[in-house]
Subunit: 262 residues, 2 copies
DNA sequence: TAGTGGTCTAGACCACTTC
DNA sequence: AAGTGGTCTAGACCACTAA
């Protein structure tokens, strides 16, 4: 026998999934359910808190509890890095994402700030630098309408970007073609990438920034970008609301027995 | 000003991270903290519940609340599918994972059951079959010691596996070399894969199976495996405890302007 | 039997929003 | 001022574990 608050939460979740409570619609007020005999205020509140942690509703004082918009997952694939997009056209990866997902791009949905900082152990290791070396950090917060979706911070070695648009940024996503175009123009053509992902609980700051419910998770993405000679020209860390993204990777099955002939 | 339960949870989390409460060690009992003036029983309990949702501790009735073992992330990369491992040797992918993570493999850490089922919409779409077609499902639950880490269910088309070891399984991971070896021996050499990942709340069944705390998340992995001629020979769905895994993907930056010459 | 965490209640009070 | 969700208390009782 589940606890009472769990039963109530399941009952409400069921109705939400069946569409009886539509997205944007108000759930019954806590005091109404108390009156209706669903339990004490604490019990009903526990059920609502569970629904919020599960991402189904959002509560706010003074307003009430409303069913959340269940935005479809945004799908990110390798194709978003296609050279043709940023080298020959003027797209940048994050705009390609929108197009692929059938979303429109609006100006002002990406904020950016560039600063010169000391490399953290993670950043230093990725770039093969001593800890504490100075690097350029380009931090973006990407929104979709009013909804922030993820942060992305790129770290560059000073000798690769000094004097480029990246360190003296005009508004918008690093100008025409984005960061990879800038590196390309500076003589560093990207060739290979490594993406590493894992999920964890959002920190309080991240939860506030990405408008996450308490207990929601984020996916942390580490992207290391190499030129053909193996130089790391960009290391980026992204924090994504875990419930809003999916990643897809296509690859050939490796065969180490044939490595020499490839 | 955070609520009292949040302050208490943060204080305890801090001490856990600093090592004052070591993994496996008991946290103070709820009633002790009530006595110590940290708040009422409900307040202290709320703090403990938050710590549990954040994966830091596990509570159980009759025992107490102990600090969780923070197992390092298991890292999964493309290399675990290396043909040399299962074609020329007799390793299977999941053993390669253990070796890469410095863990030992013990027999009996993987359970398996094979059945003939009607394809769900997801499975049918992956195989390009009409919904409800019959497929073989090979379901595994992978453990590490006593700790289950993930489930993995592979779906095969009957004409690809009928009469092979897969559908008449001997104990262990589909026998020597695993499922890919069986397909290889049957004339279907795998060539290309697509992995898709996303995170979501664990269902109650998954939480029980994988021994997850309430509110923990899982990563669902969809793996589609193709032969060189584009035939889908395996579609697999994995459910991983989100806090226990990391994924890494290496790839060349695509260039659609050169597709013809590749 | 004694001790643990978990649930539930009734009610007071707080923080915030809207009218 | 009235109505919303959020916090907190004191205490009763339940479920489970151990000796």
């Amino acid at each position: 026998m589940s606890p009472k608050w769990r039963e109530l939460a399941d009952k409400l979740a069921e109705r939400i999934k069946r569409g009886e409570y539509a997205p944007g619609q108000q759930l019954p007020h806590i005091r109404d359910l108390v009156e209706a005999g669903e339990g004490s205020k604490s019990t009903v509140h526990a059920a609502y808190k569970a629904l919020e942690a599960e991402g189904l509703v959002t509560s706010s004082r003074g307003h009430g509890t409303v069913v959340r918009q269940q935005a479809p997952l945004k799908r990110l694939g390798i194709a978003r890095y296609d050279k043709a997009k940023w080298r020959d056209g003027d797209e940048v990866a994050f705009i390609a994402d929108r197009v692929a997902s059938g979303r429109a791009y609006k100006r002002g949905e990406q904020t950016q700030s560039v600063s010169r900082v000391q490399a953290s152990p993670l950043v230093a290791a990725a770039h093969g630098l001593p800890e504490g070396s100075e690097v350029y950090a380009r931090a973006r917060l990407v929104k979709e309408g009013d909804q922030p979706t993820h942060t992305l911070t790129s770290y560059y070695r000073p000798e690769h970007v000094e004097g480029t648009r990246i360190v003296d940024p005009t508004p918008g996503p690093a100008g025409k073609g984005g960061g990879f175009r800038v590196l390309y123009d500076a003589g560093y053509e990207i060739d290979r990438m490594r993406e590493e992902l894992f999920a964890r609980i959002a920190s309080p700051e991240e939860a506030a920034l990405l408008q996450l419910a308490h207990g929601e998770w984020v996916v942390e993405l580490h992207r290391t970008t190499y030129t053909a000679d193996g130089t790391v020209v960009e290391f980026a860390v992204g924090i994504h609301a875990a419930s809003r993204f999916a990643w897809a990777y296509d690859f050939k099955v490796p065969d180490s027995a044939q490595e020499a002939s490839q």
